[in-house]
């Protein structure tokens, strides 16, 4: 079964980077620009993994994570938080809310793929070229 990965980030740059990163793998990549949109997308089609930014307008990532955990359909959906700040307080909060992991931006692509690969299978597409290395 093709895994679905949902990226929730207000930065189009980050969503573009992630879309490119997962292009060589058999997966469906979806995007949302804030927590509110992310919840709507996740409710419409529950993803296998959510990559969730913390600091966003409209609804931030921590609020979205809290809402996910309150919803019986989504409470078990694995979440990896993407954060620009490695503050202990934030990390403690997301751990308490059940985020599976976190990664600090800017991230090394290999590290992100390794963390994602522990949660969903990342099978290379047959027609995809080898993944280019991170800068």
């Amino acid at each position: 079964m093709t895994p679905t990965i949902l990226s929730v980030d207000d930065s189009k740059t980050i969503r573009m980077v992630l879309a490119r990163l997962f292009l060589p793998f058999v997966c469906e990549f979806r995007e949302a620009a804030n927590g509110e949109e992310g919840l709507a997308v996740a409710l419409a089609t529950p993803p296998d993994l959510i990559l969730l930014d913390t600091n966003m307008p409209v609804m931030d990532g921590i609020t979205m994570l809290r809402r996910l955990r309150e919803d019986p359909r989504l409470r078990r959906t694995p979440v990896i938080m993407l954060t620009a700040e490695a503050g202990c307080e934030n990390l403690a909060t997301v751990a308490r809310l059940g985020a599976r992991d976190y990664i600090t931006k800017p991230f090394r692509e290999e590290l992100l793929l390794a963390k994602v690969g522990r949660i969903v299978p990342l099978v290379p597409r047959e027609d995809s070229p080898p993944h280019p290395p991170s800068p």
Binding site: S11, M16, T83, A84, E85, A86, G87, P106, P135
Partner: protein, 168 residues
């Protein structure tokens, strides 16, 4: 007697953050350089990304000034696309905001390690000739603590770090 909130060393923090982020993000070397001497008006003014910092005993902001050519080239590098002669303003602005966010995040981590925890506000993007977009930063961001100029991939980046310690 030791003050309850010692100075965090803003200049040292400023020198650590930007090169580390550009190295991790783009694999680019960044070196400190002299301020620009050219006072001519730039026909394509640089983008300015401003990110507020707010904590229990500190407020401040990080401001990056970046020219379009660097932002376009960095964006193309990040997304594995060919640099376009002129990327859309919103795309360039988004990149500048995200870079500002990452640099401010690094600064926030360094401040936290020195006992000054703080959170990031929403990035605000402006250009020298146009009104800012996004929310205004907290006016209580304190004085300029550090202004540094950096050469990266043949372009100039200027970073300002404002900060003010206050009683908790």
């Amino acid at each position: 007697m030791t003050p309850p909130h010692p100075q965090p060393g803003f200049p040292a923090i400023a020198h650590l953050a930007l090169p580390a982020v550009l190295d991790s993000l783009l694999g680019l070397t960044t070196t400190a350089t002299l301020p620009p001497t050219d006072s001519l008006v730039d026909p394509d003014p640089p983008f300015i990304g401003t990110v507020p910092l707010t904590g229990p005993n500190l407020s401040g902001l990080v401001r990056l000034t970046i020219d379009r050519a660097f932002a376009e080239s960095a964006l193309a590098r990040l997304t594995d696309t060919t640099p376009r002669p002129r990327a859309d303003d919103p795309e360039v602005a988004d990149f500048v905001g995200e870079l500002g966010n990452m640099v401010a995040g690094r600064i926030a981590s360094l401040l936290a390690s020195r006992g000054h925890a703080c959170s990031l506000g929403t990035p605000r993007i402006s250009r020298l000739t146009s009104p800012p977009t996004g929310p205004d930063p907290d006016p209580d961001t304190g004085p300029l603590q550090s202004r540094t100029h950096w050469a990266c991939d043949g372009h100039l980046i200027t970073m300002d770090l404002h900060g003010r310690l206050r009683a908790p």
